[in-house]
């Protein structure tokens, strides 16, 4: 009987494995793409992304990632129409993937989270609209650029609603907590609910449209993004203007450096019924068995299992210079940044 069950389990596992496609994280194919982007070979990066897609490196469940990667690469390569098309597909995919599959969630319990379809993070979905805004501005389509800004603003409103309430609940819970829990669960620290760049673009769009009240609101919200999310914006609010009595304002936007990547943080959870303790420990070699946090709550059994949570890991960026050209003439630049 035991052998029978083991065989059934193995069969089921294999079936799940093949039915769900890839369950392992494949990131190696990104290396040559990143190298091309770093060397400003944007057309080559586009080609490598398309080749990766043709070689099924992007699984169907990761279609959002493909559309975002391709949309961004086409943007850098100045193929604005294709970039808009890909980023619209990314936005549509995120919308479609809002509805979570229970069957995949069940499968992820047996395998791992790679079974789940990737629906994009809030900021990734928001940036589909922001990059499209830049594309439309580059094409001289002001109304279409404004459409994207309005869509971005709607997403920010939704985020504010989604995480504002959660943040308040968490903050209240933290203040009411008399047991002094050592795990910091303040939502404001972990969730992004406002985006300075979105506010910046929106501010200039409204200003160009002559809607100064709306521009001023975005200016205030831009400052709020800095003040309320110092863990994201760990530098001073830049000196920004959206209105001048006697001059035109030239706004220059440059993207440089490598974005952080999402990696798995492997942890171990153990419960101790004698100590009434739930303890979470690191598993990586550098911090092995050091404590991530603990909860002093009553437990009836001793458990021990491993689990993973996503974490955002910065990548080093070395930017020697940003130079601004107008009609092939150098008009300014910025010094070295790290």
């Amino acid at each position: 009987m035991g052998t029978k069950w083991a065989a059934t389990f193995l069969l089921l596992y294999l079936f799940l494995f093949f039915a769900c496609g890839s369950v392992a994280t494949k990131k190696a194919f990104y290396d040559p793409i990143t190298a091309e982007l770093q060397d400003n070979n944007f057309d080559a990066a586009v080609q490598k992304i398309e080749n990766a897609k043709a070689d099924n490196k992007y699984a169907k469940k990761d279609r959002f990632l493909y559309y975002v990667d391709a949309g961004l690469a086409y943007h850098y390569a100045s193929h604005f129409d294709v970039s808009n098309q890909k980023l619209t597909q990314a936005e549509d995919a995120a919308d479609e993937l809002f509805t979570k599959s229970i069957s995949r969630a069940a499968a992820s319990l047996m395998l791992n989270d790679n079974v789940l379809e990737y629906a994009g993070e809030d900021y990734e979905i928001l940036y589909t609209n922001l990059i499209k805004t830049l594309n439309y501005i580059a094409k001289g389509d002001f109304d279409d650029a404004f459409v994207e800004i309005r869509r971005a603003n709607e997403k920010l409103n939704l985020l504010e609603h989604k995480y504002g309430e959660v943040s308040q609940r968490f903050d209240k819970g933290s203040l009411d907590d008399t047991v002094k829990v050592d795990i910091n669960y303040r939502a404001k620290k972990i969730r992004f609910n406002n985006d300075a760049f979105a506010r910046y673009l929106s501010m200039h769009m409204y200003s160009t449209e002559g809607k100064m009240d709306d521009a001023r609101i975005d200016y205030d919200l831009l400052r709020s993004a800095f003040l309320e999310q110092p863990h994201i914006y760990d530098f001073d609010v830049p000196d920004i203007k959206y209105f001048s009595e006697d001059k035109e304002i030239l706004s220059v936007v440059a993207f440089a450096g490598l974005a952080p990547v999402k990696e798995a943080l492997n942890l171990r959870l153990r419960t101790d019924k004698d100590l009434d303790l739930v303890q979470v420990l690191y598993t990586d070699p550098e911090r092995k068995d050091s404590e991530y946090g603990h909860l002093p709550i009553s437990v009836s059994e001793d458990f021990y299992f491993k689990f993973s949570i996503p974490q955002i890991v910065s990548r080093p960026s070395y930017i020697s210079r940003i130079r601004v050209f107008v009609d092939s003439e150098l008009i300014g630049g910025f010094g070295a940044y790290r």
Partner: protein
């Protein structure tokens, strides 16, 4: 335990078996709402209401009574101030066609069309025979211009969205700047998304 495995197996089978593509032809008037975004049905509803309203108002008869001829209209810019990419030509062309077919109004080409036609006419001055060459500076000047905008307001919480569209069209006397007709069509939609599926 056995049942749980069977349930899981069925779930996985349902995941593995995708559906093939099917195509059906449907009547253009059929109401189809897939994503919840602005679509052909909205454009048609706007055109129908605006056309009926525009033709039933007194601005046409007032003009004919004063000038003794049909008003000449051109289509100006219909701005998209909504949060969706909307091709306003889908209803302005319906609008134009129905007004022309009503026999009460004459239309001249829009600004973009005029530029192209003028290029053609200038080309004729160089290359066409004198008998077939069309004259320059002989266009019919429009008496009225149609301007407008589509605006939208979105209210959304996770999973549910309400979008309110307002389309405003205005007929403006080009010489006097007088607004002789304003049409408004409002559409409100609620779009809900399931949080889970099998």
């Amino acid at each position: 335990m056995k049942k749980a495995f069977v349930v899981l197996l069925v779930l996985c089978l349902s995941m593995a078996c995708g559906s093939s593509r099917k195509v059906y032809r449907i009547e253009p008037e059929t109401v189809t709402d897939l994503s919840g975004r602005w679509n052909d049905t909205d454009a048609r509803l706007v055109a129908e209401e605006m056309i009926a309203d525009c033709l039933s108002r007194v601005w046409i008869t007032d003009y004919v009574a004063g000038a003794g001829e049909k008003p000449v209209v051109t289509v100006g810019t219909i701005r998209n101030k909504s949060s969706e990419h909307i091709d306003t030509e889908t209803f302005t062309s319906d609008f134009e066609r129905e007004l022309i077919n009503s026999g009460q109004v004459k239309f001249v080409a829009s600004r973009i069309q005029r530029d192209e036609i003028r290029d053609e006419r200038f080309d004729q001055q160089e290359w066409a025979s004198p008998e077939t060459m069309k004259r320059i500076r002989a266009e019919t000047g429009a008496d009225f211009i149609l301007l407008g905008a589509i605006k939208s307001i979105t209210d959304e919480i996770e999973g549910t969205k309400v979008v309110y569209y307002q389309t405003d069209l205005e007929m403006i006397d080009i010489e006097s700047m007088e607004k002789v007709w304003i049409g408004t069509k409002k559409i409100k939609k609620e779009i809900s998304k399931k949080k889970t599926k099998w």
